[in-house]
Amino acid sequence: MMKIIKKIAMYFILLTGSILVLLPFFWMVLTAFKQPDQTLKYNFVPNQDFVGTWKKIPKENSKRFTLQFDPHLYKNLPEINRVKVIGDFNNWSEEKDTLICDRNLWIIYLDGLEQQKKYYYQFVINGSIRVVDYANKNRDNDKSFFITNKSTSNTQLEDASFVENNKLFIKLLCDKQKSPVVELGNNNQISLIEKAGYFTAEIPLTESHGKYRIIEQKEWQEAVDDLYTLSNFFKVLYNKDFPFALFFLNSLIVSTLTAFITVIICTMAGYAFSKKDFWLKDQIFLLLLSSMMVPGMIFMIPQFLLVNDLGWINTYQGMIVPHLANVFGLFLLKQYIDTIPNSLFQAAKLDGANEWQTFRIIIVPLCTPIMATLFLMTFVGQWSNFLWQLIVNTPDSVYRTLPVGLALFRGQYASDWGLMMAGACFSIIPIAMLFLFTQRYFVAGMTSGAVK
């Protein structure tokens, strides 16, 4: 029993640890799928509730005037992100009277209007488009009007709730509602009953807690579509200003060639340093090792100047050659080859093998795991290398790699997170595949020498 509990606890800890470690990864993937306007919002689960805005419970016999703007009556309007009303009641100023979006409608309650007075008004859509009120038949040219004593709203209200005898009567037009519920100020939800073309409910004023709002149910698919999209991936793939395929191919060529040549050079050098004797061998090896103590950034400018003098700016050579001298790889291979018994080399020599044959027949097969490991490490390093590939390529270079290309999505003040994450999702594919195919060698290479 104790063993099972221990096991469960271990799995739980491992699972929690894995989730914590993978959180940035999940965030990246989910953000890549999010709608552009939702990328930095905390919601990741589609919400089926179509929540209306909180409304203050009106006073009994309230004389407020309700203006309602129904976007469905207007054709050729762009996507609406704000509606304001300008009119005689606010001196045609756009500053204050902003309508509140209540599910599919925009509404505003105007208080303090004079009775028996004619008021002209217009709606202002998205800060610049002025329209008359189509729902109101009273119009003079491009302006609508209402007269306060004759009506309390510009049109038939979708939400005609009112207060009478200390009770709140919820009254919603049926035709546009999808199984609505009313939520009160204390977060209690009450289902509405269909009655004579209206959804209704009768709530004592004391239980309403000063405010209410209407909540409808969205279809699951609709809720998902509101939050997630595939468009970021399409935008990355089919964007004439962002040649994704070219960037990807360049990254692949640079990473593969660098890793491949590095492995060859390091294996040969490791063999020489491990099994051959030459003048100042140990001193040279120590000198090379000591160069690892110097931060790589220090070499950046001299390397750039060399590459520039060689005329290698905007070339594959410029991106690949400076990274071929990999001291860490040399150290790794040398240490590994040290573990191969000398008797093997002596036997090969007795059998008449030359240096190349010894290298090919003994070193390469025995060092495959560590070579695969070095290949993988170099590939990953080069695949994500940003700074060097940035500086050896001018902005017009056709040899720019994926990390350099992805930086184009960063703007002066704002970044396109959805596109950046979609690009990053694509960029992890080759590395994931490489790990998948070489994990056997990688694990063997990393653990070699751990057990004697």
Binding site: N81, N126, T394
Partner: protein
């Protein structure tokens, strides 16, 4: 055979890479580097082709302008490396704050010395542009003042306020005599609003703001802070004086004294994220995030920055007690900072006059009007700005920002702005917010570092052009 072929393949990739630029003898070529977003890039290309056609009609010569997009963050790195190679582009459109740095490194052409600079003086040229934006190009390097670029795009901070959060506190705001349908107009009222809107138990704050120097400029500007003084051809940073201290103290008080601002330095959400998630009722933000917020369904308003209240202005000796209300409104402005992009010419440019012609074209009234109308942006051209402000078909948000831009103020005109901000001013200011230093002490320490590490090296340069 396969091995040989693969070797040839590798060699091919390693060697077939030298790219040469073809130059046609019968045409003039210019290269422009820019870091626009896609829709801006497309429109820019359109204007470039229009200019080329116009040039051919006028001069009978072909003009080719190569436009290259550079990631914004890497523009300076790329330019510095190209300068090292002596291959900078002819023109660059980049962060307005970087003009200073490039001018100090002597890689920019002083435009006022070009033969086709038609205006009588730098000041006369200023009349065509929003002065705050234009001034970021007027730089005094080693005693000599020159015009090193032209403004291209302008941004500034405005006050964003969440109408929904204001509505939710309607009763409390109304009880305090504040209008829940309007934002605060001055800093005293701002504090009153923010106190009511703050509920730290719910992680909800009346205000949040980044702590960097750029985001602190509105405070300094509100107090008419002067950052530098010239004493006998010697520049001196004078931060730590009465005005700058009062400005920083005002900002620090929002965190420490009134506790109405989210402390981003203490791990609370970035203002941008917090505002989107309706945690912060007010933030300072620029026009670049307006469409994102609008499309995400946030119910918010934009207004001018708060100005100093009468009492604050009197205390800071900006106005006198008997100053009229009109004079107060004229003197004490809703000050903000300035950002955006400028266009500048690099010294490697071979066709300087044509390049300057293009700079004038791209910043002209008509081009700017089309640019701003299509992209819903602010204009750096004074006439265009006026047309946009007076046109009710211009987005209301843009009209607000166009008005706000009139009160824009540039940061201190010193080279190495990145270092100045990230390594000197920001850390010192953070110590003030954390209560580890007084505002005066922090600014005086910063001024000392600026004088030693930034001004001094450039005042005694090695003669190496």
């Amino acid at each position: 055979m396969i091995k040989k072929l693969s070797m040839i393949f590798i060699l091919f990739f390693l060697c077939a890479c030298d790219k040469t630029t073809q130059e046609e003898n019968d045409s003039v070529e210019l290269t422009v580097w820019e870091c626009y977003k896609y829709e801006e890039h497309e429109l820019f290309l359109d204007f470039v082709s229009r200019f080329c056609k116009k040039y051919k009609q006028k001069n009978g010569k072909n003009l080719k302008i190569h436009v290259k997009r550079v990631p914004f963050d890497d523009f300076v790195t790329n330019i510095k490396l190209m300068a090292l190679r002596g291959k900078t582009p002819d023109l660059g459109c980049f962060d307005s704050l970087k003009v200073l740095e490039f001018a100090y490194h002597k890689i920019l052409v002083p435009l006022n010395k070009l033969p086709n600079f038609e205006e009588k003086s730098i000041a006369q040229k200023r009349e065509s542009y929003i002065s705050g934006a234009y001034n970021t190009n007027v730089i005094r390097v080693r005693g000599e003042e020159n015009l090193y670029g032209l403004p291209l795009q302008i941004t500034c901070l405005g006050l964003f306020w969440n109408r929904k959060l204001f509505r939710e506190k309607r009763e409390e705001l109304t009880a305090a005599g504040l209008d829940y349908q309007a934002p605060p107009r001055d800093w005293d009222n701002f504090v009153r609003y923010a106190k009511i809107l703050t509920d730290s138990t719910k992680n909800q704050y009346g205000f949040a703001m980044k702590n960097s120097m750029w985001f602190t400029i509105p405070f300094f500007a509100a107090y008419n802070t002067k950052y530098l003084r010239w004493d006998q051809e010697q520049q001196n940073c004078i931060l730590g004086d009465e005005k700058s201290t009062a400005a920083l103290q005002l900002k620090a008080d929002l965190y420490a004294k009134y506790k109405i601002a989210a402390a981003t330095w203490a791990g609370q959400d970035d203002p941008d994220i917090g505002f989107q998630n309706e945690q912060y009722a007010m933030i300072f933000m620029g026009p670049w995030n307006v469409s994102k917020y609008r499309n995400s369904g946030l119910d918010f308003g934009i207004s001018l920055m708060p100005r100093l209240s009468r009492q604050q202005a009197i205390a800071a000796k900006i106005i006198k007690e008997n100053t009229s209300q009109q004079k107060y409104l004229e003197t004490v402005t809703p000050a903000t900072n300035i950002g955006g992009q400028n266009i500048a010419m690099f010294k490697t440019c071979k066709n300087k006059e044509i390049a300057y012609e293009f700079m004038n074209f791209i910043t002209s009234t008509d081009v700017q009007l089309e640019w701003c109308q299509k992209l819903n942006q602010l204009s750096i051209n004074k006439k265009t700005a006026q047309i946009l402000r007076n046109n009710t078909n211009t987005d209301y948000d843009i009209r607000i920002f166009m008005e706000q831009a009139l009160y824009s103020n540039a940061p201190p005109k010193l080279p190495r702005y990145g270092y100045l901000e990230a390594d000197i001013l920001n850390p010192e200011m953070e110590l003030v917010f954390k209560g580890a230093k007084s505002a005066k002490q922090a600014l005086q320490d910063a001024a000392k570092k600026i004088n030693e590490r930034i001004i001094k090296p450039f005042q005694n340069p090695k003669d190496k052009d």
